[in-house]
């Protein structure tokens, strides 16, 4: 009985100590980790879209509630004006979800640029959506409204040869982004006024 | 008893048929020689260099491993030279020297001596060498790319690559007979079908390879490619084209028949050969690689220990065998 009790006490104490330590550490590092994730996973795409901005878009971010979920928006300042925001949208690719950063100028609703963040497409085929700058460049300057489709489906997007499914997924992601943008535009404009 | 003679005592049998491993190796090399000479004729000095370097470096690796492991030197059995020669036959003529030396290293160390040397290797060492190199350096083994600077007196496109990218329509212009007499590009030793065929038949008659393997190999290849061709002749080339291109004949007579990695019983030999033939066509027609011979034979090597369990019932055994 004594032994039993000892076992229970030791295990409980050890578990509580471990749990407490980890919880504390997690609290301590949470913000740092989030920053790191943004920096290394989404950072490259965001910085690529907002090349030449005066501020650090990852530091200057805000969140807006879109229905149930919160969406992060990254702000880019050009010529002293904070008119460009970048946010993430997703579409279904060949190997799973494709994360796509879409940058838009709030003043004229035009796309500033897009960039793939996370994907699980076939290396060398679908993955060219992330690595081939020509594919992303074709979205630049298009108006972020309405539906985006690949040319086979009668749309405006040139598909990557051999990776039609991936291209379609990205078109869907941009379409999604357009929807989000349209519905959140008022709040977005409000928030951007705060940046000077 | 001071005049007692010292007699040698050993065990039965006291006769031997006189066969030797070295005889075996050298006969196989002789049988392969015409195809290699044709390679020299087609590709000139670079091909001679590749073959010479491959054979000599294979022998040197074997010698170094013998020294390292403290075993008796076994370069005299000709097996190292044979592996070097087989590997050279699979190289394009423009293979750089460092790739040849890496190839023989992989073949001798990873393909042969890791498993305990001659007789222990589960895969054909030359094929292990070429497979690992192909996966590492695709450009070297892209025949069209490798032979870009050559000017041949015939159609210089690699037939199988043309088939892969253009379909049967693209290979209509190949004359089957000129393919057979070696007017095609490819690796050093694989182009001259006629020589390979004669070399193979020589080996079968001399008893150095088992006829079951090449025959079932070619039968498997022909039947499968015929079925594909009949089902959709616009997408799949005919059986004779497959027979005469790529490493088919080299594989059937020289690579699939490697002693240690192929079965020895009758039925398993047939399954093994046919399996390799079928796999080649599957890889060529619906797989990702241009020529499937290397991987098809390696795959069947893998199945060899399992296949060889099918064997006739031994004398005096009752009941069935596993």
């Amino acid at each position: 009985m004594r032994e039993m009790l000892k076992m229970i006490i030791v295990l409980t104490a050890l578990c509580s100590f471990s749990g407490g330590l980890l919880a504390a550490l997690r609290n301590e590092t949470m913000e740092k980790i989030e920053n790191q994730q943004l920096e290394f996973v989404k950072g490259p795409a965001i910085r690529n879209i907002l090349k030449g901005s005066a501020n650090d878009p990852i530091a200057d971010r805000f969140k807006i509630k879109d229905g149930e979920t919160e969406k992060s928006f990254f702000v880019g300042k050009f010529d002293g004006k904070a008119e460009t925001v970048v946010f993430e949208s997703t579409g279904k690719g060949f190997g799973g979800d494709i994360g796509l950063m879409v940058g838009v100028n709030v003043a004229d609703d035009k796309i500033v640029g897009v960039g793939v963040t996370t994907h699980s497409e076939t290396p060398g085929i679908g993955s060219r959506a992330q690595t081939d700058p020509r594919f992303a460049a074709q979205f630049k300057g298009l108006s972020l409204t309405g539906d985006f489709k690949v040319k086979n489906d009668g749309g405006q997007v040139d598909a990557i040869s051999g990776a039609t499914v991936t291209s379609k997924g990205i078109a869907v992601a941009v379409t999604e982004a357009a929807k989000t943008y349209t519905s959140l535009k008022p709040q977005l404009a409000e928030k951007l006024k705060g940046f000077k | 008893m001071s005049d007692r003679k010292k007699l040698i005592v050993s065990h039965a049998p006291f006769l031997h048929c006189g066969s030797k491993i070295s005889t075996r190796s050298y006969h196989i090399m002789i049988a392969a020689l015409p195809a290699v000479l044709h390679g020299f004729y087609l590709y000139g000095i670079p091909a001679v260099g590749v073959v010479a370097l491959s054979i000599s470096s294979a022998i040197i690796w074997e010698y170094l491993i013998n020294r390292l492991t403290g075993k008796p030197t076994t370069i005299g059995d000709g097996n190292a030279a044979l592996i070097g020669m087989m590997l050279a036959m699979l190289f394009p003529a423009t293979t750089p020297w460092w790739a040849v030396i890496t190839g023989t290293f992989v073949a001798m160390v990873v393909g042969k001596h890791i498993y305990g040397g001659i007789g222990g290797n589960p895969f054909n060492p030359a094929l292990i060498g070429i497979a690992i190199l192909t996966l590492s350096w695709k450009n070297i083994f892209n025949i069209d790319y490798a032979l870009l600077n050559y000017d041949f007196g015939f159609q210089a496109a690699y037939p199988l690559a043309a088939l892969k990218h253009g379909g049967p329509a693209a290979v209509d212009s190949f004359n089957l007979f000129s393919l057979f007499i070696g007017q095609q590009t490819g690796s050093i030793g694989s182009a001259f079908g006629l020589a390979l065929l004669f070399g193979g038949i020589y080996l079968i008659i001399m008893g150095f390879i088992r006829w079951e393997i090449p025959v079932s190999f070619l039968a498997g290849l022909l039947i499968t490619s015929l079925l594909f061709h009949l089902s959709d002749s616009a997408r799949f080339a005919g059986p004779v084209f497959h027979l005469l291109t790529g490493n088919t004949l080299l594989g059937a007579f020289f690579l699939a028949t490697e002693d240690s990695s192929s079965p020895v019983n009758f039925v398993p030999m047939l399954i093994y050969g046919a399996g390799a033939g079928v796999m080649i066509i599957l890889i060529r027609n619906i797989g990702g690689h241009v020529d499937g011979a290397v991987f098809a034979i390696l795959l069947m090597n893998l199945a060899n220990p399992l296949l060889d369990k099918i064997r006739p019932k031994a004398l005096g055994k009752v009941g069935s065998h596993a």
Binding site: - | L7, I8, P13, G316
Partner: protein, 421 residues
């Protein structure tokens, strides 16, 4: 000798030259007789050095043992000492200083009444090695006798000679064998060439294939009787007794002349020649060779038995035994040594093996001394020990020796286990 075909090379048995007559070897000055069994120091010896023996005299060495040997010469015993043969087989060597022949007549006296009793009591050491113990073993229930008129090993023609030249004796021998209760079938296995003249011999004549090793007991039984002997069993276990033609002829001769025969027909194989000789059992091998003017030198091999299954002896003093069908001399220069090379899996042995033993797999287990697995999974006991695998082996592995050693070791393990239970 080796006939090449695309599929299967095979070795062919020799046919005896009809003109061949055995050379009579003179009675040696000293003879050695082997006695089965060994003194453990406790048993009382019935004979000692200095005792005189007569030709044909039964020698029972130990007081309480049924074993006996038969003196094939007359003379004085000079030495009785243990001898260890291949695979630890032990026996006792009795050396005799030979004098003028003086025949012992106790065999002749008993034959009149009960021939079978005298076979049992006097004839277990006949030339050709009549398997008396098996024939009369009540547990074996022998019903069929196969008389082999052909020698199992290559080049040896001893029994072919007997079949050709001793029809009368064989006929008499068969009559006696038939009188053994329980025997209902006697078959003579001979080459097709010798079938003539055996019409009324009193036994069924069957011819056997010319390919080596079709004269091995297991294969004769398979080909002639359509029966299989289970792996690891002897023919006697299935009620079949194999007797050499020479043993049958000697049996007949013993009763025809009322005297135990003492001369052994031997094929002497030397270089490309072979000669038939007739020598007293007990004659040292060296004396046989001397009579034929064959010199052996240091480094040569002296072999009793044929080239495929015989065994080497290390001394010229080794005597002719009742079972010695051949003596072979191999020149030192022509010896092809075995090598320690590994199996390269070429499959030649698989294709030549008459017993379908997976030699390539078997040898991998035997090399590493995993005898139990070898026997269970790779048919060790199916091997008939013909030696073809070692003959054909490209790596020149001593395959037959591996197999014999494995069987010997396993038998040892079984004995130890039985002793421990």
């Amino acid at each position: 000798m080796l006939i090449h075909m695309i599929k299967k090379p095979y070795l062919k048995y020799d046919v005896i030259d009809p003109a061949c007559k055995p050379v009579i070897i003179p009675v040696p000055g000293k003879a050695v007789i082997f006695f089965n069994g060994i003194s453990d120091g406790k048993k009382r010896l019935l004979f000692k050095a200095g005792d005189k023996v007569k030709t044909g005299q039964k020698i029972s060495l130990f007081a309480d043992s049924a074993e006996y040997a038969v003196a094939t010469v007359s003379g004085t015993i000079t030495d009785i000492s243990p001898y260890v043969g291949n695979f630890g087989k032990t026996c006792t060597a009795i050396s005799i200083d030979v004098s003028e022949d003086d025949f012992d007549d106790s065999f002749g006296k008993e034959t009149a009444g009960q021939p079978l009793e005298s076979v049992r009591n006097y004839l277990s050491c006949l030339p050709g090695n009549l398997p008396v113990n098996n024939l009369f073993d009540p547990e074996k229930k022998i019903s069929t006798i196969i008389i082999t008129g052909i020698d199992a090993d290559l080049l040896v023609v001893t029994n072919q000679h007997i079949i050709k030249s001793k029809q009368g004796e064989i006929k008499r021998g068969i009559e006696i064998l038939k009188s053994i209760p329980g025997i209902n079938n006697i078959v003579i296995a001979v080459r097709r060439e010798f079938v003539q003249g055996y019409g009324h011999i009193g036994a069924e004549i069957r011819n056997i294939d010319v390919r080596y090793p079709s004269a091995f007991p297991q294969l004769i039984i398979r080909d002639l009787l359509g029966k299989t002997i289970p792996a690891g069993k002897t023919p006697e276990d299935t009620g079949i007794c194999m007797i050499s033609a020479e043993a049958v002829a000697s049996l007949g001769e013993a009763f025809l002349h009322n005297r135990i025969p003492t001369g052994k027909i031997i094929t002497v194989i030397y270089k490309d020649e072979k000669k038939l000789v007739s020598a007293r059992i007990g004659t040292p091998a060296g004396d046989v060779l001397k009579a034929l003017n064959i010199n052996i030198n240091n480094g040569d091999r002296l072999i009793t038995g044929g080239p495929m299954t015989g065994s080497c002896i290390y001394s010229e003093d080794y005597p002719v035994l009742p079972s010695t069908d051949a003596i072979m001399i191999q020149d030192g220069n022509s010896i092809e040594p075995f090598s320690d090379y590994p199996c390269i899996n070429c499959g030649e042995c698989i294709r030549i093996c008459p017993a379908n033993v997976p030699v390539n797999m078997l040898v991998r287990y035997l090399e590493t001394k995993r005898y139990q697995e070898a026997a269970e999974q790779y048919d060790l006991y199916s091997c008939i020990e013909c030696g073809l695998c070692a003959y054909i082996c490209v790596s020149r592995m001593p395959l037959l020796q591996y197999i014999k050693l494995a069987k010997h070791e396993l038998a040892g393990i079984k004995l130890t286990e039985a002793a421990n239970v």
